[in-house]
Symmetry: C2
Subunit: 336 residues, 2 copies
């Protein structure tokens, strides 16, 4: 890591393992990685940089009793990669700040599981881990903060603010899966202890949609894009606010994740509309733009349309069986 | 911030204040700041990127009973800026991840003090705050992680690894001041509650040496450079290890900070040699290179020389009154 802190023997093991395991990743555009005051990166010519940071704090974003260390490591990196995907970017490097309570730092199995989860996803996406920071945690919770640097051709990054009235609203993959799996997890926390990274675990091992975002950018398909990390209703609200528009969803078109079938109908709709952490992409495109049924192997579904913003009506509405309802942003991470 | 989390009213106030106060900073090379999934930056043509992250965790790096919120905010950013300075870089943007316990989030005075401390230093150094993350803290401690992105002309960044036998060792400013002020603080925690940012508070308000690092790079004066964040002995060890060399310091040449005069002689020498967080620069230069007595208004002092690494002798030694002692890395943050 860029700086080395006063550490217990367990943290020494962490740093040694981190350096060794990170060293196995491709260097890519990292000219100088872990070990100096700063890492040195080369940005691709003609590109702008995309930068995002995301906390993964025990007790807020995960629980050690519910999430395997592999899942915690995977989710830590997935949060950052999803932000890069929503801008259509290419990830260049990740930086990890990690503080472990002493007891966890001395648990080699937990540490190795965390790093394996994070670095497996990094390797799949060819993202070097180029630095970060380590510390002993002040309390009893594991504290992680992931920073991703990516790039996109100058002026071309997808943003939240480009949606226009008349655009069609699309989403990738299926919705509500993460919330449904979280509900199952909360009932039987040990049920998924040995789950491995796959499409079948949308909460434990979300798959960031980098290739989809890159295709949207490269093929100039999207007018605006955001990832569904806070829930469809909340992220659609963010997109509408940034674009100065309103939106109508069609309930019959929303692609329900198969895991939501285990929920009661009202809970299923809540998972689809408000469940966070699906890490799918929500994007808009002009009505005349032909959007493929799938991009990079991921299904794309039309779910509604952008309409002009009028003060006399709700920012968002949803039409179900010919009845229009106001849609409130109810994502669990919503700012209210 | 790039992502908005479920927050108490106090955190809403934090984000609103952060956006408003950050908006007063010059945008510089930030094309899109707080408010989308990622920030978008433009790197200067022909430059490489410098990236560093540093935790500032309550109970590890500061105490709310000892440090004013202004000091905590200042120190959080100073850690990152110092890393950029040690590479000779120009800061482009800062990103702040901040998790507050509920009680602190509702303490507007603490929050405003923290932001004022951080943003005053940012304004002094023309660094935009371009994003980050916020969360409620899982425990009772304030958790901050600062990320700095800077740049330097391609291939020109100063590193730890360029020192060669025969080079002279220099440091900026004075040593031991931060440790001496911390010792005073630990005796009378309330003594400095109203201290303001100035050169007179090396622990509470360290001044990162950006202009010195940039001058060293621009004038091609230094063969290697590191900041003294972990203490002179530990950071000199880092520099020697990275460069594959050994070092001799001359005790009589070490510039003691005036605050160390309050310490007993042994404690004074310990503060100078091992006290961390001075955030001065330690650099080397070939003997034939003429180094000015000051750079950017900061005194430069010759303190020793680089010698060949020999397994038969200690990596570092210090000569005091014609006697040579082995110098052990004893910085408080040393990895052992």
């Amino acid at each position: 890591m860029a700086k080395r802190k006063k550490i217990a023997s367990g943290e020494l093991a962490l740093i040694a393992r981190l350096r060794a395991m990170a060293g196995a990743l491709p260097a890519g555009r990292v000219r100088l990685g872990i070990g100096d005051d700063c890492a040195i990166l080369r940005a691709p010519a003609g590109h702008e940089l995309l930068v995002t940071t995301d906390f993964s704090l025990e007790g807020r974003h995960f629980r050690r009793a519910w999430h395997s260390p592999q899942s915690v490591g995977h989710r830590t990196l997935a949060r950052g990669l999803s932000d890069i995907s929503s801008m259509g970017g290419q990830p260049l490097a990740a930086f990890l700040s990690l503080a472990l309570p002493r007891a966890v730092a001395q648990d080699i199995r937990w540490m190795d599981g965390f790093l394996a989860g994070l670095l497996t996803l990094a390797a799949q996406n060819k993202v070097p881990l180029a630095g970060g920071d380590t510390s002993e945690a002040p309390g009893t919770e594991v504290l992680a903060d992931i920073m991703l640097i990516g790039s996109a051709p100058a002026g071309r990054a997808l943003t939240r603010s480009g949606a226009r009235a008349g655009d069609i609203i699309y989403c990738t993959g299926a919705l509500g899966g993460a919330a449904a799996e979280l509900a199952a997890l909360s009932k039987t926390p040990t049920r998924f202890r040995h789950a491995q990274s796959s499409d079948e675990h949308p909460h434990l091992f979300p798959q960031p949609r980098l290739a989809v975002g890159q295709a949207l950018l490269r093929r100039k398909l999207a007018s605006a894009c955001i990832d569904i990390s806070d829930g469809l209703s909340t992220d659609l609200q963010h997109l509408c606010e940034a674009s100065g528009v309103a939106a109508e969803l069609d309930a019959a078109l929303l692609p329900a994740h198969p895991l939501t079938a285990a929920l009661a109908p009202a809970a299923q709709m809540a998972a689809i509309l408000h469940g966070g952490e699906d890490y799918e992409l929500l994007f808009t495109a002009p009505a005349k733009t032909k959007i493929p049924r799938s991009l990079a192997g991921v299904p794309i579904t039309r779910i509604g349309r952008i309409v002009p913003r009028k003060k006399s009506r709700a920012r968002m509405s949803i039409v179900a069986e010919d009845t229009r309802f106001e849609l409130q942003p109810r994502g669990w991470e919503h700012l209210r």
